[in-house]
């Protein structure tokens, strides 16, 4: 099950407590009932279980239909989805089907005095945060990316499993999954890294990128990147840090040649210590760093690596 599902149980618990209501988890698939325990251990009071061979693999219409029935029967106030490929496929269609709103990629959620879910998302071009509510329509639905919230430590719970009585549509084979090719896990996931060294457009060339990687090796760090570095071919998609990529929470983040637009920096704000190296004194990244160095990285990286070895 996706990591984000557990993270959402964490924030879900807080929201449910604040509202004085219960926390449910929806588990859909085939032969998945043994997974309900994990969800209870992460805080679910009830697991709505839809176990049916029609629910494997994921097909939009089956899941939208199942969810719509569950929403109709149990009428939750709030539904949280992971902002994954599946979440982006399911949540909006479901919102349109049941006639409610959807706010995607929330970076913060809380309940206000009126008991309404306050939803914060990033604003245009990274100038700030937009606050959104869904005042009248129910349920209030949001998607949240992995890494925004933390997975709770598992602890034995008293949650129960409720089998969902679903009436699924006939599969007309309008959409068929032919095959699945798993992605090779390239070692530790960036979002779990303790130290991250990231490079941006300011690195300039592939040769310069090698210096970034050398610093990472000296720190035993994972290498991250911004979109421009990706476009230049120095890094790959899963190394991208930021709103459209990975949220990291290392104890140390060093950003080199990175300007610091918000859709990158939102992905690093939970780092314990942020260091920025950029030769442009006006670079935005200095505003969100603990320590800044205004210098061409080529002039200083070798010295940093040397000092680390002493």
């Amino acid at each position: 099950m996706a990591k984000v599902s557990f993270e959402l149980l964490g924030i879900g618990r807080e929201l449910a407590n604040r509202m004085g209501t219960g926390l449910g988890a929806v588990l859909l698939g085939a032969m998945v009932s043994d997974k309900a325990k994990e969800l209870v251990e992460s805080g679910a009071d009830v697991v709505f279980l839809g176990d049916d061979e029609m629910l494997e693999p994921y097909v939009t219409e089956m899941y939208v239909s199942a969810m719509a029935q569950l929403l109709q029967e149990h009428k939750p106030d709030i539904v949280l989805f992971g902002a994954t490929a599946m979440g982006r496929d399911l949540a909006p269609r479901l919102a349109a089907r049941v006639g409610t709103g959807l706010t995607s990629d929330c970076v913060r959620l809380e309940i206000d005095e009126a008991g309404v879910l306050v939803q914060e998302v990033l604003a245009f071009g990274g100038e700030g945060i937009i606050t959104i509510t869904c005042p009248r329509h129910r349920p209030q639905m949001v998607t949240v990316r992995s890494g925004v919230y933390t997975r709770p430590n598992p602890s034995p719970g008293t949650g129960r499993t409720v089998p969902a009585k679903l009436s699924l549509p006939k599969n007309d084979s309008g959409v068929r999954v032919l095959e699945f090719q798993p992605r090779e896990a390239k070692g530790m996931k960036l979002e779990e890294a303790e130290v991250v060294v990231a490079g941006g457009w300011g690195i300039g060339d592939a040769k310069g990128w090698e210096q970034v990687e050398e610093l990472a090796r000296a720190l035993k760090a994972q290498v991250g990147a911004t979109r421009p570095a990706l476009d230049e071919g120095w890094a790959s998609e899963e190394q991208m840090v930021g709103q459209s990529g990975v949220y990291v929470r290392p104890r140390l983040y060093i950003g080199i040649g990175i300007s610091g637009v918000i859709h990158h920096t939102v992905g690093i704000q939970d780092a314990k210590v942020i260091v920025a190296i950029n030769r442009d004194p006006d670079a935005e990244i200095f505003k969100c760093a603990d320590i800044g160095i205004v210098e061409d990285y080529r002039q200083i990286l070798p010295d940093i690596i040397k000092a680390l070895k002493e």
Partner: protein, 268 residues
Amino acid sequence: MNSLRIAVCIKSVPDPRYAGKLVFDTKTMVLKKEGVPRVIGTMDLSALEEALLLRENHGGTVTVLSMGSPNAVDCLHQTLAMGADEAYLITHPSMAGADTIATAYALSCALVKLAPFHIVLCGAYSLYGSTGNVGPMLAEYLGFRQVTSVSRIEEVRNDILRLIVNIEDGLLRVEARMPLLITVMREINVPRGIPILGIVAARDKKVVTWGLEDIGANEERVGARGSPTRMVNFHTHEVKRKGEILKGQPQEVAKELVARLRKLAVVK
């Protein structure tokens, strides 16, 4: 299937390079975007490019639609110059303040007026706000099947498409039957620029502007009135870090940095 009728839905967004000029009026709860040039969202460009490629390979027409304020017309001119056959701007004062539900509704009305379509293409998500919701919502209102996060269209054979879907864990090979709504990922293609001949050819093509009555929409379901969600506030991203700049010769600065990081126990 010889001739495909393809629609592309695009959103014009404020050019991120000028985002500093955006002002949120807390009295009217409106984000003022005057004076900020508009560009087509990155993934929307890929959606348009994919439509043009489909037309090149299979024949047919490419119709671009956008719902927005009148100044979105420049972006639609751009799509004509890139090679779209026709472009429609759905705009009306009542449509202001629309969230993704109200936007998808308005677009669905326009698409029904222009029906039939075999394929509707949208971007999988955008960088700012309403990230990719419109596609699936639109598919729901149209009653189309959907395949999202598509990184490659492998084949079109009669009324069946074979697609590669890019999900976190890997790649899916999927077959889907038309009519189909597809949302595309940035990596699906590299959008073309605007060829000089494109600008010349586009001079004869006009962006058609459609209002509420043209698309046959219910006024209660568009704009702010038709939006279950609404913007209630805007604030700048507060950051609480010191931002101390280390000064001096590189060698000294490097030593100082490492000393501090050791003191903070983030480095050995």
